[in-house]
Symmetry: D3
């Protein structure tokens, strides 16, 4: 078995390095990101095998993405696609209170994802397939790939996890709702923020009730992420809530992906939902303690030190 | 009408980029600053027309100042002055608790400001003239220009706002008091910190009483800035206090100018004093959430997001 | 009269700051670029009035572009366009010998340029209209705008200059040839590298003959840029060649736009072709002596110092 | 009298400049560090004379260390040693919650310290000799030098202060205990964190009792550092506790050395233990308000401003 | 077959980013290096499979090295070794004319390399085994591993290539000579600079004669690297000399490893010696056109563009 | 004897780090400079004792200057002066071809230098006193100090060297000529560029004749610096010319001061004029091979490596 298989778009990421409006002469840091590959890296840091499949351009941005993923130990199958660029994100740290992200992924290699890009065999060999609402929003063919991959998983008896991950700059709520409605019933695990779940189930202020609603639609385990308020999980054996782990926050982008990685790693290791949720919260919190979407993701050893008293080891 | 007209000295600003004593090899960031142009930029960001008049050297620092102001949409009338340099500020972030600023403006172009530099016509066309105690402290001729400009405004029936802005490295309290005593009675709006107001009115611990004292001297609206304690306004219709808007602070330099811009923008838009004071407090708070004296100044759209829950837009 | 009017796409520019492959963690510099606005800035630095018309997104990249142009004194009419991003360029300094540029302008605001974006009145008020092959390659509507603007100029008796500026990542040679064939006959001045001219006229190794061929097609003055070999101009009064001005080269990107600005500035000032060509070569060479596509563009005073012996002024 | 004499290893320090795992392409800052020289610099900033003796390689890292110390006004006697490098520390700011330090001092010049490196005369001329557990852990010869220097001080009637400073990467607790047991009885002042004191006296949760235990072993004044909980001192005249001074913390590395410098400076100036402890806590707190192990150390003037209301001086 | 197998020490590399003496506050760049892994990366960039075996500490520097190698597609078998650090290099760009490197590898994980670390099976599966004089100089056990690996290769009929790579800071000429004398006779290919070859064969000013001398000692192909003078190869079929490829040099460190990678890639692809030597010279030259020991290594596509006229692709 | 005594103004130096016009957001490097202290540092690097006397403000810039000089081993007597700032230089690397420097020294501490600041005793104890035209141009009192110090030297039989060092931004040629005419006759050694010598002696294109002219006015040894053309010396024993040493130039600012340091170091060591001139040319050339006014100054060991073939030591 090959651990978690995921498919999605990973992009170059150009981010500002201090809180100020983007301006000519600003120093930016180049990196890469993508919700699915963030999860894959998070899994690898925690010791779980992970495979990422995606499309990249035949350009330096594509090289960069591929090198990072391989370097992190993610099994990487990048379909390098001619004459279309690797996507790009521009990230502005407008102030200490607000981050803005713009996508340059119209016509990108990632938007060319299409049925067939993930093979029945690699699905069958996986322990779990992780999909997200972002891939579904990239293009019609990418959405078909997501549905197709979920079907392949069903055929092979491989569980599917899905992160709603709504992105208003990529599609509208109606389109997202239609896709969510088709895929959630097929999922062993569904992750979402409360507002994202509301797109599917309608207005709801109570995360536990939201979890039950997702389950009523067919999801096995429903996990509602609540940012600085922690998270909730509902499954056939019960419901559980964890508070956020208190940390000195630096950058919350990527916390959700970290959380998912933490949950899946523990879940695949055979831990119960409450344990997996606690680990997820720790991983999500840890990811907030440094810059970057995935760079700060913790190892198990890092997690152990998180509660420790001494901030300096030497 | 041309919105707010202001006159003052803007300078190159060399600032350290992290909390440590200035040292050889330190990386510094070049920018520009000046209380009056900070206010002008703040006004523009909020959608109010603004004109800045000043003197700059025929040097690269002068080019820099002019380009920033023009870029921000401030109508800029820079009198480029031969054989004297554009002023400069050196800013040391000594620690997370203390910032130190040294001026290199002795004999600068800005100190050559003199009566005649602001014309009767541009005063008459303005909606409001904004002056500060800093310009008054630069040189005798600059002080005369301030007094002269206030007189031109009176002649033209244009309201004057004045920020006491005491700078101990430029003059002493006695000189400041003399100037304040002459100008406050002519002002529609006077801004000051409590300690600055005390220079004029003598010891006073209550900002509301301080505001009344300013009004007793002839000010129309008296606004007392209280840093992290918010602010107070006193006018013929009453008195109002606003607390500071809670934000994650990065750099408080420039908060006062931001606050003034917020107040004037709302005031000129016809809002009442309480509304203008609340906007001022938001703008002042926003300005603390990033580096730089004016860079972080918000637009109206930024202000709307300030209270929002979601720190990431994408 | 309002000097030179130009229309095109300006974009955010993310460039690496030293010769190495793009890699995660690389420090990049944010700026902006665009052939037409480079020319406009070049003209302003040389003292010639310039107007730039274009489309930008309602995003921070658009703000950045607009602020730079306004800061440089270019009259800027930016049509801010909803729901599409400002374009972006990614620039890799792969080694000391090679620079690579990738465009993220598919579906950008700039690609929405369309007839009507430039008004008959602003064309009629201009001294000269400057257009390029890049705008023509962005989209069908942008190409129509270029043709439309040339027609408006013809109607108003305003001379048109055109830079072939072939970009293989935007269109193919056949499409370019078709457009060039339509526009060159309407132009008072045509600029191009030898390889670009060959797209239109077929194989030709001699730049002077290439110039005559352009003139035979209807161009008034034909200027062939030859990089480190200088340039050639052919007009009804004769032909002239200038060698490149020897400089310590840092970054040649933007040299062509600088050259065009130099030529147009002198031409509009009433200088003869030989003088304008010499100025063009100086401006092009100067632009190679620093980083950035337009940042190093010289003023007339800078040009005077270019030949001087003493490299330090103090 | 020559103030405080100290001996130890100072090293080049390569530290990351933001919270993220060390990675290829990371920007690092070069500096220098060493517990004893940190104390010496701290003393100089507070106006107390200080001499540092140590061994450095004949390399650029050695030049760097020597220049910093001389620049700070520390009388520096660096024995430059052939064919062995100056030691080096690599410092990773793993997250906002954890810093990791690795030593490259195996076989370093500092590990060659040996009896004779400190002369009887320079000990005799000192007001106080400051030693640490780190030097004792470098090598057998370095440990002998520490013991030797303590003996020279005893012979000359010069008081000795000692900071336990346990470093698990350099030796084990048993070795440390053996050394502590020999040296503590000879010390006028002993500093240590509670965990370090426990190495010598066995389990103890109460810092005051820990202080008494140290005194029972022969220490004159026992000072227990408690990080963000402040500190405790026990001496023959009594016991006193100070809370930590509240500050905006940036980097706590070096706080202990700053604290020691504060205590010794006041102690040598003739202040009583309670006063010295309060100063120590202020200096320790101040040192946390900026980056770097010693860079942020305060002068007396800095300390005075620490409590002040106004965070900007100009 | 698994391509080239190599074994050696790879280290963290802390390098200055501009020509100036190392100084406190200098900005450094973190990376990694090691002659053998440089060659492995070079091979991968050129499309040849490569495996690197080595020892790394259980520290962040070890993580960094492993991630870079995996990212570059090198099959990496890193033996993570407890309680010893990953080695480190400190690189000072003293001026535009001189670079200085200091090693921190005494007692490093790499120095623990020992017989058994490379298995008979991985040797047998390789197409070629590449060894260097550096590994031989690290420690007695590392030298034994080199000899052992050469013997395993002989047993399995796998060709060995060896780069003399003399490092005066690691051992003396007598020790190097003894090792060279044992290993050269077993090598299919030997690489060395002229001065390095002289250590083995005695004074010799003619590189061709030096090549013949190496062959007389048993080497199959002798390749003498001559820096900016190019290189020479001697083999049983003849002798050939290539000049250096003219490039704009930025940093020559790593040119030798690049050259070796170029030679081996072509040699294993079945090209003749003259062709392989020409490729080696191109790869060595390309490696000089950017910062970093291996970062600038070219792909085959990069090499094709090396001779091209147009320095900008877009 | 205390080696070379010099007096002058040293300032903070804010310099851009790459060739581009000064602009908002530019990254600058903080350092310090001053012709006299550059010479003092150069002497120390070469092993000659040096004392610098000057005035600095009671500010962080003054601390910085003092720490650098002490760090470099220069005996530093800084008169810290209340209420006036330490001077500052702003340095723009406008392009690869031009550097511009602006002074912020009007009313600086350095301009307060006055007779009495250098004591008769420290002059008498010196081996040589080095003065420059810059100090003479700062203010009337500074000029008087220069004349006074020269007189004290004459009284004590201590030789004086003088560098004409004309700065057009500080005074005009007539004032400089008057001062030069008074001081040159008292000097054992006079240094100047050809254009500077012409201020005193009138038009002259031949540097040897210029040297003779200086000697005719009373100078002992006349040394004419010729930039990239080398230098000439004329003395009672003859005349000698040296070409410039070929180096890869990075920044020529400070070459003249380096040259003077090289000459004085050799001269005081008893070498003849031709030897001293050759050393001066090497030191001047070395100083061009890195950034910074004094940072790249060489040691004797550095000079030995200058001619060497191998650019990497390890
Ligand atoms: N400020 C925070 N402090 C601690 N943990 C946090 C914080 N923000 C997020 N987390 C953790 O990460 C998880 C995911 O974060 P959230 O912001 O809800 O996800 P998303 O990135 O998908 O919006 C949360 O459920 C929580 O456990
Ligand atoms: N730490 C802060 N948090 C929130 N708002 C602040 C803070 N500091 C200042 N402000 C806002 O900015 C206004 C002006 O700041 P203040 O420091 O009083 O001005 P000045 O810069 O003139 O000293 C305050 O009245 C307050 O509204
Ligand atoms: N290396 C150089 N040295 C001096 N001048 C140059 C150099 N490169 C370009 N120029 C000048 O700039 C002009 C335009 O450069 P070129 O490279 O031909 O344009 P483009 O950027 O359009 O390809 C040239 O004609 C020449 O005058
Ligand atoms: N977070 C903090 N806030 C304020 N003061 C601190 C803080 N951390 C340390 N200090 C001060 O510095 C002293 C030494 O710090 P500590 O961490 O105990 O030393 P060490 O560096 O030796 O472990 C403490 O006793 C306290 O006075
Ligand atoms: N300055 C240079 N210009 C072009 N090619 C070079 C240059 N320096 C080295 N090379 C190429 O790289 C090869 C190896 O460089 P060399 O310096 O001899 O190796 P090493 O790094 O082992 O000392 C040379 O044989 C040459 O082909
Ligand atoms: N480009 C250069 N290459 C080599 N040596 C140089 C170079 N520029 C200056 N020098 C050396 O430094 C000396 C002083 O430089 P110069 O420019 O004449 O002084 P100044 O800085 O006073 O104008 C010259 O005489 C020469 O020996």
């Amino acid at each position: 078995m090959t651990g978690v298989l995921t498919v999605g778009e990973s992009m170059a990421l150009v981010g500002s390095s201090r809180p100020e409006p983007l301006h000519a002469g600003a120093t930016m840091t180049l990196g890469m990101g993508g919700a699915e590959s963030n999860v894959a890296i998070g899994l690898r840091r925690l010791g779980t095998a992970a495979t990422w499949v995606g499309r990249l351009g035949e350009d330096s941005a594509g090289d960069l993405v591929e090198k990072v993923l391989r370097g992190e130990g993610v099994t990487t199958r990048a379909l390098r696609t001619r004459d279309v660029p690797t996507g790009l994100m521009l990230k502005e740290q407008r102030s200490t209170m607000e981050t803005r992200i713009w996508y340059y992924r119209a016509g990108s290699a990632g938007s060319r994802l299409r049925p067939g890009d993930v093979t029945a065999q690699e699905v069958a060999e996986a322990d779990l397939v992780h999909l997200t609402g972002i891939t579904s929003a990239l293009s019609a063919s990418a959405r078909d790939l997501v549905l197709d991959t979920a079907r392949l998983a069903a055929d092979a008896g491989v569980p599917v996890s899905f992160d709603l991950n709504y992105r208003s700059r990529l599609w509208d709520e109606a389109s997202a709702r239609a896709l969510y409605a088709r895929i959630v019933p097929q999922c062993a695990i569904v992750f979402g923020g409360l507002e994202e779940v509301e797109i599917l189930i309608g207005p709801e202020t109570d995360p536990v009730r939201a979890g039950h609603a997702l389950r009523a639609l067919g999801a096995g385990i429903a996990v509602v992420k609540l940012g600085a308020q922690g998270a909730v999980a509902v499954w056939d054996g019960g419901e559980v809530r964890v508070p956020a782990v208190p940390v000195q926050v630096r950058d919350t982008v990527g916390a959700g992906d970290a959380f998912v990685a933490g949950f899946l790693a523990d879940h695949l290791a055979g831990n119960d939902v409450a344990t997996a949720l606690a680990t997820a919260a720790s991983v999500g919190a840890y990811a907030c303690t440094g810059d970057g979407d995935w760079e700060t993701l913790p190892t198990r050893a890092d997690l152990r030190r998180l509660g420790g008293a001494e901030p300096v080891t030497r």
